[in-house]
Symmetry: D3
Amino acid sequence: MTVSHEILQILENTAVATISTVLRQKGFNRVALHGPRAVTEGQKRIAGPAFTMRFVPAREDMTTALAVNGPTSPRAVLEKIPAGAVVVVDAMGLRSAGVFGDIISARMQMRGVAGLVTDGAIRDLVGMKKLEWPIWADGTTAPPSPSEFFCADTEVAVACGGVTIFPGDIVVADDDGAIVVPAAMAEAVATEAYEKDRFEEWVYDQVKGGALLDGLYPPNDATKERYAKEKQ
Amino acid sequence: MTVSHEILQILENTAVATISTVLRQKGFNRVALHGPRAVTEGQKRIAGPAFTMRFVPAREDMTTALAVNGPTSPRAVLEKIPAGAVVVVDAMGLRSAGVFGDIISARMQMRGVAGLVTDGAIRDLVGMKKLEWPIWADGTTAPPSPSEFFCADTEVAVACGGVTIFPGDIVVADDDGAIVVPAAMAEAVATEAYEKDRFEEWVYDQVKGGALLDGLYPPNDATKERYAKEKQ
Amino acid sequence: MTVSHEILQILENTAVATISTVLRQKGFNRVALHGPRAVTEGQKRIAGPAFTMRFVPAREDMTTALAVNGPTSPRAVLEKIPAGAVVVVDAMGLRSAGVFGDIISARMQMRGVAGLVTDGAIRDLVGMKKLEWPIWADGTTAPPSPSEFFCADTEVAVACGGVTIFPGDIVVADDDGAIVVPAAMAEAVATEAYEKDRFEEWVYDQVKGGALLDGLYPPNDATKERYAKEKQ
Amino acid sequence: MTVSHEILQILENTAVATISTVLRQKGFNRVALHGPRAVTEGQKRIAGPAFTMRFVPAREDMTTALAVNGPTSPRAVLEKIPAGAVVVVDAMGLRSAGVFGDIISARMQMRGVAGLVTDGAIRDLVGMKKLEWPIWADGTTAPPSPSEFFCADTEVAVACGGVTIFPGDIVVADDDGAIVVPAAMAEAVATEAYEKDRFEEWVYDQVKGGALLDGLYPPNDATKERYAKEKQ
Amino acid sequence: MTVSHEILQILENTAVATISTVLRQKGFNRVALHGPRAVTEGQKRIAGPAFTMRFVPAREDMTTALAVNGPTSPRAVLEKIPAGAVVVVDAMGLRSAGVFGDIISARMQMRGVAGLVTDGAIRDLVGMKKLEWPIWADGTTAPPSPSEFFCADTEVAVACGGVTIFPGDIVVADDDGAIVVPAAMAEAVATEAYEKDRFEEWVYDQVKGGALLDGLYPPNDATKERYAKEKQ
Amino acid sequence: MTVSHEILQILENTAVATISTVLRQKGFNRVALHGPRAVTEGQKRIAGPAFTMRFVPAREDMTTALAVNGPTSPRAVLEKIPAGAVVVVDAMGLRSAGVFGDIISARMQMRGVAGLVTDGAIRDLVGMKKLEWPIWADGTTAPPSPSEFFCADTEVAVACGGVTIFPGDIVVADDDGAIVVPAAMAEAVATEAYEKDRFEEWVYDQVKGGALLDGLYPPNDATKERYAKEKQ
């Protein structure tokens, strides 16, 4: 199932917090990732189909050579990641090594990959920030990936930050964190959340101007009418 | 028990670290909250009487409607919070939803509420920061409050960050975190801590100027005399 | 075993992430500290021999007087720390009190101590940052050290951030965290890691310029030759 | 809302695991307590209305005298607990002191209280076991209750083991743990779960006798018919 | 790679602790699972090829029907598990639902499956114990599997208890826990560990008889000679 | 400071829970160890002077040979432990390897060592239990000690289960856990706690016989008099 560029654009212009509320109203509570945080506060929001990578713990018979150069190694995999994708790395929440450093990330960025979301840590923070490539991770550490894990699979269902993500699901991430929008729901969620987000921005301004919440948020009919009028 | 505006002013000009030391000298070790951190480093220190809110986990028979609009819902409660109060939310340390977002917070700010302290997370980070309203929380996340909890009670003793806070206790918070000053001790603590804080600033400058700690900190009589003279 | 100033200089100019990779290639996986993070992002990298302090939990028969002024108290100890040393405090990962505040730290800085690395927290964040003295810690908190622990020993093997550090081992720390280089390996690691670090910077630039990783990183002979030529 | 003795009897004869499945089928996922375990494996299953106690952390101005003898102290409260009730203690998951010891528990037992469920620990394990009074707790420890907490409220909504329990909700507990059945659902859940439990016992025997699961569990019409016949 | 029945028999007669020591001597430190414990102390040791199942978190669009009856559901999978296999369930360490209950387990037992190892919890403890089928899990809980997760894959590399297990690796488990022996090493490890285990039993008896450890353990030549003689 | 055999005998006949209460009344709250639990429920209570061992994390330049045979290795140390001592191992709470197995423990038992208390795990559970030697640990695991740590020091102040223990402090342990009685307080605590323990046993029987707590526990004068009379 492919989600159109238009839908992705709308999601990219919609707050993750609002998408979370809309998904909740549709019965989805297990979609917000716990762990990944914006590495640079204020980095741009991203929305794209997930390209998933599943890491498992290092074992002494998985030689570094295999982990670094094998068929599921980051080096081998990254040339297959489509432009616009969000790379999602299930690192089992382990933060004792970095899933990627600045060189691998630079190459992903050059290929047009939208960004990285992981429940693990990254390394090479200085080089990472210089890229100005959006990353959501659970901290920074020095050791290289093969110290702690290797990539066992790509493009399978993964558990990242306590949430299941299927390849092709839409991942949206901003300063409030990352969320998965199941591919089949992307269109319905995008439109509704975008509208809700605009309305909440208007409410925010009303409140800053002195308005009470009663009747405003959630809105009664008068409020809805006033909003409709002002937004014309 | 009401604490005077003068005392609150003194506490607002006293480092939480120093208040912690003075409370410890008076036998109080269980007063510093673990979890809440300044959302914006360098945001202004606050001191005010606690207005407490006790959250409990969401349950499927607590409808969103009830959580969002019931008598203890944030919307219903916030118009009762007195200006100058510090809102203290016991979120049981759960960080999987935000206790408040930017709209509720904007309204609190408009009402003159001094700030928010919670052992949970907040949401809408961008909007929250735009308010320039001081918040201490344990992280940021996307899901809305009803996803994870609802407010069961207000103005009762709560456990926040491992510390018991009674309504009306004075909460002081700065870049080192938040602390509770039991209302009955506020006056004694304020004066002593303020003086100690001034002295420590002077010591800091002495040390930066090359002084040894011996005899200076803790001070011997000569140091005390010198400090008294210089401070005239 | 003393490590020369030249070696320390080289390490100070080498990324901790790269040192981690080189140590791993030499069979060392248990050398990166988990917990200590740079208190100020972008603070200068440090490299120096460890001066270790071992904290144990407070007990009611360890009076504050003894903890604050006894033979292993920070005040007594700090005048013995050699210039250039990195103070390593094993705080057992406890973050409920600050191991040091700004006055003790100011004195260490004045004595020429290179910096502080601890798996505990610090306090007096504002004063600490004003020092512009590099600190790696696991957070900030208000309570003073004697609330939670006291220094039982100095210059013994300690466990900090899950890693054993012997007095005199070299500790290097930057934005990716802190690592211990066993003293006996410092020379071998320094040279190799420095060279590798330079090479990786060159690779990073190549990738930013559009190069593929294949043959570049890890490098094949052609790449090695080209790098050698360009670096002349 | 009062739940009849008959319903409680049925629940007492129904596995908590099965009740959990039925509640889930009715849309309730946040009802199983995480933390409380049977202190003695094989102790009898209990089912009764919750009598809730809310503990908050000890603070130095809550004297032991007040904690031990005040109006919400266990001593004062326990004579008010009705026979048949399940005492639910929200200990905030703290296991560093025992919520109750053997003397308080003996008195509860004498009063006909059905049992104790807590996300904290107990103390006096030897005396506790001698009572043969069913207890679900998260471990055993030596320190007395006032070391760590005191009872702030009784008969309010509490959070125990991550679940909200209102006074009068039905708590059922066995070797698989404890669950809350909202009072309003007790009747519907009891009947359905009891029947399901009987059916699953029959299935278990079929499987032990060599049956395949296909068509048996979940059952097809033939299985249902056969079960109905055999159970006559 | 298939491991012979003889090798499995030898491993089944060798303590996991001793296998751990031998694997460590061969350079393998990441092979002991953290989390799974024997559900019944003293249950028989098992050794068999791993049949792996990978669970991921529940999501609201994974209907119970799919989780319970889909192609990777336990029901569908279990008829494919070969006799003698050890079922290894990667439950991501989540203990809020049981991976299996007594009915699924009874069927596995009937099929000749050697036992179950999981870093999650089980449910139906009473029925589970009645089976006398060996299980290693991280606790017991009431909720059914679909409450928290579903099986995404079988017979892939999994992370269980912090250790990577490939399908066909040999898993050995006893009262000290579970360990993975990479299939390629099973023969070498089995023989060496079995011999070491016998020797350690002999040492244990010597020590109980009053012998000192010096020269005995690790053994000097005299000890080795004496052991060889006695064991004839 | 040496504590007499008589005092140790009294402590050995006094519940740890009661000792905890008495220490608390004397101002000591940081004396109960969190983590160590009785390996065999009902094993005999022990009381003896602490012989402390301090473990630190394994590092690749600490060869197994050194860890196993060096001057602070268990083998070298154990012949120096005096009969009657309680061995206290600070394992930093790490449970990924066993601090000791059955052979080392058997030798300690033969030497008359009273028992073992550790915040780490043990291994060789079957052999350990066969010894019937009292052990308090935080679980069981397979890997041998050098996998994770080595002994850096003996007979120094250690942190075990969050509590500082000095060599020679008295450690008492039973089914409720382990506690440290500072050597200087042993006599005062022993007498008082023993008497209190006897009184509480009497209270327990009264309550089982139907008595109310009011006036009984804590006792009023009439109760004290009655107890004095009955105990003659």
